[in-house]
Amino acid sequence: MDKKKLIAAAAAGSLLVLCSLAIAYFTDYDTKNNVFTVGNVSLELNEEHFTDGQLARADVKLDKDPTVKNTGVNDEFVFLEVKVPKGEITLLGSDGKPSAAKSLQELLSFFGGSGAQTVSGSDNFAYNSSTSSSDGWVFLEKTSAEKEDTYVFGYSSALSSGDETISLFDKFALRKFIEEEIEGGTKLKIPVNAYGIQADSLDGVSGLPESGSLSVQNLRDIFEICRNKQN
């Protein structure tokens, strides 16, 4: 760039600055609102039929149907984490007799709709899983602590803006155990956490399919990123 061009450019720049400063002196002007959008990931955890503070009776099923809605702009991968309270109880069979010795057990059972799948190794946690023909939830992991077990599920495919998952499960019930092993009136918390992460340009995860269902490993890898973001 020669000296003349540089001077011309500088002069133009100076003029622009002067224009903005001295605009009051002109009789006409025009403005434009230029909106620059950035990616937006947002979600909503819904439990349409759950009523907080209900009374839980043994084996009486109560509505609880957590879903996740993509309320953002970008496609999202979404996850649900459910914490199940535990206690020292003696589980009773359908005949009302003890079915096992008193031990540390989850206090609640969860039920999905028709075709629900039970978490491997569990006899009290069924969920609405994905199938070869429809999206649904995929069990990822269960971790145990003294007072609660934590289950993590991922949704089988990316959720588009405005879309909502199917419910993770539909109902839950207090398990049948010897009365007062858990004192009557005890309030049990069932925290549910929903996580979402952008589905596009997730280059930290290898082997992601272009579209369609994700593998369990895909979802575990993605959830690990979500978890790290939370920590």
Binding site: V38, G39, N40, V41, S42, L43, E44, L45, E47, F50, D52, G53, Q54, L55, A56, R57, A58, D59, V60, K61, L62, K64, P66, V68, G72, N74, E76, F111, K171, A173, L174, E179, E180, I182, E183, G184, G185, T186, K187, L188, K189, I190, P191, V192, N193, A194, Y195, G196, I197, Q198, L202, G204, I225, C226, K229, Q230
Partner: protein, 222 residues
């Protein structure tokens, strides 16, 4: 010199973009719900107004205040039943219950359905009719299932026929007791014991409500 400034400016810009890229590498969001449920339980307490009794006097009618009711202290509506009796049958034969402080009925369960009365010096009426038969003939809130009733498992208890709501109490089953004594009265016991059962039961995962006290107790005792 100018070139160096431009290069420096570009480096700063790239560093800012790189930093922004690091922060915005993955967009995420979360939401949570801390749901709570309360463990249901039927819990009751026998509530008695029973002033410390004076010693039994010999050869007399000894009257005592004993107001027996049952309070629902749990968090569900429930049915209640009460067992009340003198363990010693000889004592029972000489004892009376009253629900109004005026009319006293025999504590003997299988006494006559109706019978004679006599009035004492204080205007109280003693009935030979049994208290349980009097209750059942009134068809009131309390009912007694006699020992020869076809509902074998329900026998021997007083039943409050309506559900007792959370925080509420039954009316008194009886309010006074009278014990007739002979020459050398001995101390005696009157046992009052209550049980409860939730008005709601589970059937195929659904909450159902028992039709009445009898169906609730029959199901519970099965």
């Amino acid at each position: 010199m100018k070139k160096r400034k431009v290069l420096t400016g570009s480096a700063v810009l790239l560093a800012v973009l790189a930093a922004a890229g690091g922060i915005m590498a993955y967009l995420g969001a979360s939401d949570d719900a801390e749901n709570t449920v309360e463990v249901a339980h039927d819990k009751i307490t026998v509530t008695e107004n029973f002033p410390k009794p004076s010693d039994l006097s010999s050869n007399s009618n000894n009257y005592y205040t004993k107001e027996v009711a049952v309070a629902n202290t749990g968090n569900v509506d429930c049915y209640v039943r009460v067992y009340a009796d003198f363990p010693d049958s000889h004592t029972a034969a000489e004892s009376y219950y009253s629900a109004d402080g005026v009319n006293y009925y025999s504590a003997v369960r299988d006494a006559e359905l109706s019978g004679d009365t006599q009035t004492d010096d204080n205007g109280r009426t003693l009935h030979t009719q049994s208290f349980v038969n009097m209750l059942n003939s009134r068809d009131g809130e309390w009912i007694f299932v006699p020992d020869d009733d076809s509902s074998e498992k329900l026998r021997g208890y007083f039943y409050y026929k309506e559900p007792v709501k959370v925080g509420e109490s039954t009316p008194d089953l009886f309010t006074n007791v009278m014990i007739k004594t002979g020459e050398a009265p001995e101390s005696l016991d009157l046992v009052v014991y209550a049980e409860s059962v939730d008005c709601v039961y589970e059937e195929s995962g659904q909450a159902k409500t028992y039709a009445d006290y009898a169906s609730a107790w029959n199901a519970f005792l099965n």
